[in-house]
């Protein structure tokens, strides 16, 4: 059986869902293929932090653009998506990290992102459970949190309302040169194939420069008000930047339910999805060092996930050497935030419309052609 459509999106995680949403709204007849459940992979494993990040100018541009899109979409998100603009507090433990607070503050001011510098006393008042004294923090009030799997499900439902078709439970075995083949023999003929398969992208595109970067998360029982903002240590930048070694950082998120998500860890070359107890222990010790009362709380679950990491920490968005194949993958720890911006840039590329921000930093062509071509 051969189906014809305007675009096939492979992968029903948050990035694929956003691409299907965007392309459907632009009038394309879209087919989404998800082999398991919508938002059930890396999307379900992550925290769901809508955050402006400034590791590089290109990362800042994409996260800021994407956050503005989430902001605009937020009134439409149904309550189960648990969108909550709680803001991020970048916590500075010492004066060196406080210098980073001021650097960020000036940078954000220059590009129109609202932020406020908290001194030691204001931070203690804002987050009474933080260890004292801390040097201070940067509050980014526009940052938000949400529940990623249901955000993905919402985007898919909206895409379907705009005419998209969802094929679920079937696996794509080949996708190139305008043809998508599935494991049950179904064939789809289409001018545009979008690979939004994240950490699994290597299965169809063996040479794509994406590596798995394992992470751990823990969730507690309900303790409403224990923390009020997403709390991230500024030392996080040092560990997240590191590209080779295992690392942990303090990163705690309050959920609407009163639960706390506790992160984070980063490991390359760890393919086993099981919980690594040594990493889990150092992650929780780090969290307890910042929130001493955390140790008395009950946790109910720990799990792992795999980020889709690229060598330069920027996603792959746009065309490949095969004129029918496009990529929207490799978002590492920022896929929830940057999904909407990615989808908008991809749609602009396909429909030859001017993008809101320059697409060049994210083009797959920045890596060698042989690396990408299937």
């Amino acid at each position: 059986m051969t189906i014809r459509c305007d675009a096939v999106v492979i992968g029903g995680g948050i990035v694929g869902a956003a691409c299907a949403y965007e392309l459907s709204r632009k009038g394309l007849q879209v087919v989404i293929v998800e082999r398991e459940i919508i938002g059930g992979g890396t999307t379900a494993a992550g925290m769901g932090h809508i955050v402006v990040m400034d590791d590089s100018p290109a990362q800042l541009a994409l996260t800021q653009y994407s956050q503005s899109l989430w902001n605009a979409l937020s009134p439409s998100l149904p309550p189960p998506v648990e969108y909550d603009r709680c803001g991020t507090l970048w916590v500075a433990a010492d004066e060196e990290e406080m210098a980073e607070v001021w650097r960020k503050h000036k940078l954000y001011k220059a590009i129109g992102v609202q932020s406020d510098v908290l001194d030691s006393a204001s931070l203690a008042e804002a987050e009474p459970n933080l260890r004292r004294p801390m040097a201070g923090a940067l509050l980014v009030s526009t940052d938000a949190v949400l529940y990623p799997p249901l955000a993905a499900a919402y985007l898919i439902e909206e895409a379907q309302r705009s005419g998209a078709a969802l094929i679920q439970g079937k696996c794509v075995v080949a996708a190139k040169q305008g043809t998508v083949n599935m494991d049950d023999g179904t064939q789809i003929s289409t001018p545009y194939i979008v690979h939004a398969t994240g950490a699994a992208a290597v299965e169809l595109l063996p040479n794509i420069p994406i590596r798995k970067r394992k992470g751990h998360l823990v969730i507690t029982d309900r303790y409403p008000g224990f923390v009020r903002h997403q709390l991230v240590e500024l030392g996080y930048l040092k560990s997240a930047h590191s590209v080779s070694t295992d690392s942990v950082a303090f990163n705690v998120q309050p959920r609407r339910t009163g639960q706390l998500l506790i992160g984070s860890s980063r490991q390359y070359g760890a393919e086993d999805p099981g919980v690594d107890h040594a990493i889990l222990e150092s992650m929780l010790k780090r969290a307890c060092a910042y929130l001493p009362a955390l140790g008395a709380l009950s946790t109910i679950r720990a799990w792992t996930g795999f980020r889709a990491a690229t060598p330069d920490k920027l996603p792959l968005i746009g065309p490949t050497e095969d004129p029918t194949v496009f990529l929207a993958a490799g978002h590492e720890g920022l896929g929830i935030t940057t999904s909407l911006g990615t989808a908008r840039l991809l749609a602009d590329t396909l429909l030859k419309q001017p993008p809101a921000i320059p697409v060049e930093p994210y083009l797959p062509a920045r890596f060698s052609v042989e690396a990408i071509h299937a």
Partner: protein, 80 residues
């Protein structure tokens, strides 16, 4: 420990015998242990620490499984 003493359940003094579980003290007080997410009052279901329906705040500690803990003199118990 005396054979009989008092604990406080939601700020009301309740007399209990030694070896009374906290869950029982809550029942003697005619109270519930917790309010569910959907707003329903809850009390022990399994009575053996598996169902988590008996959670309450004991001496300030949330999510204490009251069916698995014995009362001690002066204990402060609150529904959560």
């Amino acid at each position: 420990m005396p054979d009989q003493f008092t604990v406080r359940v939601n700020d009301v003094a309740v007399a209990v015998d030694r070896n009374t579980s906290i869950a029982a003290a809550v029942m003697i007080a005619g109270s519930h242990c917790r309010i569910s997410v959907s707003g329903e009052p809850r009390a022990p279901f399994c009575g053996m620490g598996i169902c988590f329906e008996c959670r309450a705040i004991v001496n300030g500690n949330m999510h204490s499984r009251t069916c698995q803990m014995l009362c001690t003199p002066g204990m402060e118990i609150q529904s959560q």
